[in-house]
Symmetry: C2
């Protein structure tokens, strides 16, 4: 029974059995009509998920590849870019732009906080000549468990005129994001988060404004080139071999998503997030994220004084079968994270909270047994 595990990390997330079996189907010709029909259905499903997006392109790559695609397709070497990073993945987005020759300004933000639209407005107001070409935003920062108010941030950027490039890898489907309505130029999502399939694909939405920027963007690119991908996707194919088995899974989970409905999907994630926070706090644990911006996808929790979060995770995993995530970067030795996005239901959260209670008890932390679960149940019922 050592494999009867609950995976409570913010990606890869659990894959529904229907999708796992769909991915076991035999291969097909990616230049044939059967493939084309599947891809067209998937693109419609992605449009539903992006509410809707511009052109939604599918690349066989991890989410980091999608971030690279956003950068190299819209910018030229030497372009000024403003990073609104609020954590490790926002830093990565900025690093990618820098690696490809952009000049990146970074707004300092405390990890655990959201990006303040007024701080962003002030920063953009300094750019009187409008030399900033793009602002890099993170929808949901996986390393801290903070969800930015993308709608408000994008509005500020639209007033300035820069492109709005959004990492929504762990955000899309867990929290509301209206790509077109909010004026988001490039939005990047990933397969292994709330899309409920394994890692290996990234979905990238491209607005009209992003296409206009693309036509003048001179960063070198081939694999992630938007033009080639769009040209082939219009005829129901891709320029090179697509990740066929992952697409089988995606076709299945997109159907599940339509069945659940987007509002219900967002509500479920919000409820699970609130329940985790309530449970953790009832156990006397301190949360990292600003409560106003607490993520519906992942919760970062400080280990109690004197407790090594790595050891806590080990006990919880080995004794109680629940896999928690560690902290990243400068938080590695201070926090642990609970993922609650994708194919996650209420009973998963109950089990996670129970394992956490038991693990803390085993390590000698004084808690009231059942207190976490009681608060979790109460929050779920709310």
């Amino acid at each position: 029974m050592r494999n009867k595990q609950i995976l409570a990390i913010p990606g890869p997330t659990p894959v529904p059995p229907e999708a796992r079996l769909a991915m076991a189907r035999p291969m097909i010709n990616h230049r044939g009509s059967e493939y084309t029909a599947m891809q067209r259905e998937i693109v419609e499903g992605l449009q539903y998920a992006f509410q809707p997006g511009g052109d939604v392109l599918i690349f066989p790559a991890s989410g980091t590849g999608g971030l690279e695609a956003a950068v190299v397709n819209t910018l030229s070497p030497g372009d000024r870019v403003l990073s609104g990073s609020i954590g490790a993945f926002g830093d990565r987005f900025a690093d990618i732009a820098e690696a490809h020759g952009a000049i990146v300004d970074r707004i300092p933000t405390e990890w655990g906080s959201a990006l303040d639209p007024e701080v962003l407005r002030a920063r953009l107001a300094e750019d009187r000549d409008h030399t900033i070409k793009a602002v890099l935003l993170t929808h949901n920062e996986t390393s801290t468990g903070v969800t930015n108010d993308i709608r408000a941030l994008a509005e500020v950027i639209r007033d300035h005129g820069a492109l709005v490039l959004v990492d929504s890898i762990s955000g899309l489907l867990a929290a509301d994001l209206q790509t077109d309505a909010w004026g988001l130029d490039v939005v990047v999502a990933g397969s292994q988060k709330a899309f409920m399939i394994p890692p290996g694909m990234t979905f990238v939405s491209v607005s009209e404004r992003a296409w206009a920027a693309h036509r003048n963007a001179r960063m070198p690119r081939y694999y992630f080139d938007f033009t080639a991908m769009k040209k082939y996707m219009e005829k129901g194919q891709t320029p090179y071999t697509p990740a066929v088995s992952l697409l089988y899974g995606l076709q299945t989970t997109l159907r599940m998503l339509r069945e659940e409905g987007l509002p219900e999907c967002f509500a479920r994630h919000a409820r699970l997030g609130a329940a985790v926070r309530a449970g953790a706090q009832a156990l006397g644990l301190r949360l990292l994220a600003d409560p106003r911006y607490a993520s519906p996808a992942v919760t970062s929790i400080y280990a109690p004084e004197g407790i090594d979060p790595k050891q806590l995770r080990q006990v919880v995993r080995e004794r109680y079968g629940v896999v928690l995530a560690g902290g990243q970067g400068k938080l590695a030795d201070r926090i642990f994270r609970i993922g609650h996005l994708g194919y996650v239901g209420e009973n998963d959260i109950i089990a996670v909270m129970s394992a956490l209670e038991r693990g803390l008890g085993d390590l000698g932390v004084r808690i009231t047994p059942g207190a976490g679960i009681a608060a979790t149940q109460q929050a779920l019922a709310a």
Copy 2:
């Protein structure tokens, strides 16, 4: 029964049931010990497949991404590169180098021919100042069905001193390739060919000389950066989320490969290729590839006079359940291709040849029924 198909295209190739079921396993934490153990086993298996390679890196991407990785990690903008392209995929490799700022010279070669080592030697001899930094080679050209003599070509290049960058996406495991012994600096393979798993991963071997070039290579890169990938792989992880389900499949097929043994695997592919060629010729069909370099992975066949290869493929697929590949680029209207690499056995080849016979007959081509099968059987027995 319309889905009882035989997929006879040069990728994606059929996936063995063991691997399909392995890929249906639940997700695990890619930062945990279970993942690390799996990755270490897979790296050992890849070393066996590359006989052995330098550092073999695994990227979640299609093979085209691996080609981009080979280029951007070893070259700088403005570097001179010699392309030894013999078909559509060789052209793509050259295009990738050009897109990233290399100055590419191309050796003209007739499609269907291999690259002549003496032609390459003469071309490199003109480069008295040794300004050519790298030569791009294709091990097995999927668009034509020609396998280059990489050993002889690499020897010529080593005499000159340029880097040897090899696209072996459809070659590795189908034909002998000894990465270290033959002095190949970067070798790129793909998951969806003879590795017998779905598309979405590329494997890239990096030699000591390639690492030395890498340290001075200034083409911008992030997603495909060798240094970051190596650093993480040394601790049994990857810099960003790996394609977990595809790795499950790869673990399984690498075990199958060890069981079969490399020599037996090469012999099987050679035998299947010879059988396809014998059968096609017995049906009066003309082959594209120079017979001295005919591929053990894929065979390109001219459609008979007056027959549209697209129509032939359609009849063969719809009536007889066998999926053949079309021609690419300038050969699209003249040839069709039979893939016989990966999880392919003798009975698959018999069925393919039978469908081809029947399809030709249906279109009014005068053939001797059974002649193709008889020749195929004879070749298989040889």
